[in-house]
Subunit: 322 residues, 2 copies
């Protein structure tokens, strides 16, 4: 059995974080499966499928907590498995796998643009939009609406502790969009003048809860209070299959020195502890719609994305497991 | 008619902000009235009362937007007016005014301590309390509960843009209280572990809405969502009589350079505007109780405070007006 050297190299690069970012990791993993399928010297369909499963497992184990990586593998292997089980021959199966991998890569590359096109339809001329943190998908929605000639303004929250709001404000401004920059605490004060909230997601659970930058849930809550729609822009590979088996998404606790600089923190009394959670969880009730590259869905349809995109059946088994 | 030089001097110091801080301004104004009463050379009760009204008017005009100053004047003059109208003689009226002024000063000085005593009764052993910004009254509640031996922890939000959370965290820590310090955006994430919210007020409207540091309303909102009580600790002189005549409390817009340092802001594109509101407004529905030095009241009783403390009748006229 032969997993190709190229595949092992990609696995290594994902592992040591030479390849980073949710989108890039996912595309590299799909590409590794594509190479494996293209260059496989397997003599039978069974041997070929064994190799594919082997390659998928190796790639899967590189980053156990990422969402996008296993999703890429599932996308490809789920389609392979169906073909294999329905009796495809070697060349048919090879074709299915290669096509699925190319499809995943293409979709993923186009996802942000497609999300922009789809999401922009829900933005109306004159809208004041609030956003939080820095999300490529959310920005794509606003940028596309602006390019369509819709006269929008965006309220950007600074997003403590890491100030991603600055990046967002400058990026939006560079497209010509007027930006109002405020502290995170001002979200409710300015919700009254806000027409739509557009934010990204780090991952999305099976029941449509949105894990995203700390503060997202507060904004969604006050948006709900104001009958302002909260729209979450998220690529389908952000949906988190393991949550369907009950797994909780880990809320990463980051270093306190992101909140208070180390020099300053040293001088603080011992009975002050700084907590720095990276994310919070927005309940599905506070989310109006999720804008994916496959279309606009209600949060309750998160499970359908998991099922259709990644072949997540109710009785679950990874497509590379027997 | 003679308004005393001492009174004019105090008025001048309030005007040029040599005397600052809501509490100090209020006490100085009451003290000015006390001196006027003590040292007045008036020969008749009418002449005396004219002088008092004159002094009150001069003091009133020093800082037209402050809440605590007119409230101090009203407290004293309301009591004087009742005595005057019910036929007090010169010495009786002088006595009433002096007593009222001393009472106001004493109450105001003791207010924070008294709020601590009253509020601490609502804090239970083991409580995790969330607070925002730096409020002497709110801290007094927590400090008193801690000194009573109640084992509390306090979650302090950093309070952008001016980081008053740091002052609060250090002050609480100096009393020995364990503090958890978080960014403002983490308020909802940690509301689930919070038992009570205790915050201060900048001013309180006739219908019990709380004007306080930006972010207060968001915390009160998510506290409500979690069935966590929001308790507002506020001296009675924070209640805003003019709101009863329809006046809106001005939400001060402060300099953008408090949010983004001037050096950095200079480099930002022109289509980014930084808005820096100092306060937000928390609706009375989100406030469980207001803890004053006179007792715990529901927000709906704000009007009673205005009426009883400052003689605010439904048909309004300042006590120094005819
Ligand atoms: N760490 C987590 N991982 C996955 N789902 C979560 C997590 N925390 C909360 N949820 C879900 O998110 C929703 C909102 O939770 P809450 O904000 O606690 O009301 C609920 O539907 C929970 O099931
Ligand atoms: N600037 C203001 N001055 C006085 N009262 C206000 C002001 N803004 C809002 N209110 C009151 O505060 C409450 C909450 O307002 P809102 O947060 O807009 O729901 C309402 O009862 C308003 O009447």
């Amino acid at each position: 059995m032969a997993v190709l050297r190229e595949v092992l190299e990609i696995a290594e690069k994902i592992k040591n974080m030479e390849i980073r970012g949710a989108g890039k990791i996912a595309r590299s993993a799909a590409y590794a499966l594509q190479i494996q399928a293209e260059k496989s010297k397997a003599k039978s369909v069974d041997e070929f499928w064994e190799e594919m499963k082997q390659a998928a497992k190796i790639l899967y184990e590189t980053r156990p907590t990422a969402v996008s990586l296993p999703n890429a593998l599932r996308y490809v292997m789920h389609r392979g498995k169906i073909a294999y089980q329905s009796g495809a021959d070697l060349e048919q199966l090879r074709y299915v796998v290669i096509t699925a991998a190319k499809e995943f890569i293409h979709n993923s590359e186009k996802a942000v643009e497609r999300i922009g096109e789809i999401g922009a339809k829900r933005i109306e001329d004159g809208d004041i939009i609030m956003t939080h943190c820095h999300s490529k998908a959310a920005i794509s929605v606003m940028k596309t609406a602006w390019e369509q000639g819709k006269d929008i303004k965006v309220i950007v929250t600074e997003t403590r502790p890491k100030w991603q709001g600055k990046i967002t404000a400058k990026e939006l401004a560079s497209y010509g969009i007027p930006v109002i920059y405020v502290v995170d605490s001002a979200a409710r004060h300015y919700m009254k003048m806000t027409d739509k909230v557009v934010m990204g997601a780090d991952s999305i659970t099976v029941n449509g809860a949105v894990i995203n930058k700390i503060g997202t849930a507060l904004i969604a809550l006050t948006a709900k209070e104001h009958r302002v729609w909260t729209m979450i822009a998220a690529e389908t590979y952000k949906f988190h299959p393991e949550t369907m088996l009950g797994q909780l998404v880990e809320i990463e606790m980051r270093d306190p020195t992101e909140v208070i600089p180390e020099e300053e923190l040293k001088t603080w009394p011992e009975n002050i502890t700084v907590w720095n959670p990276a994310f919070d969880v927005t309940p599905p009730e506070y989310v109006d719609v999720i804008i994916t590259e496959r279309g606009v869905i209600p949060p309750s349809a998160a499970i359908d994305i998991l099922r259709e995109e990644f072949g997540w059946a109710l009785k679950y088994r990874e497509p590379w497991e027997d």
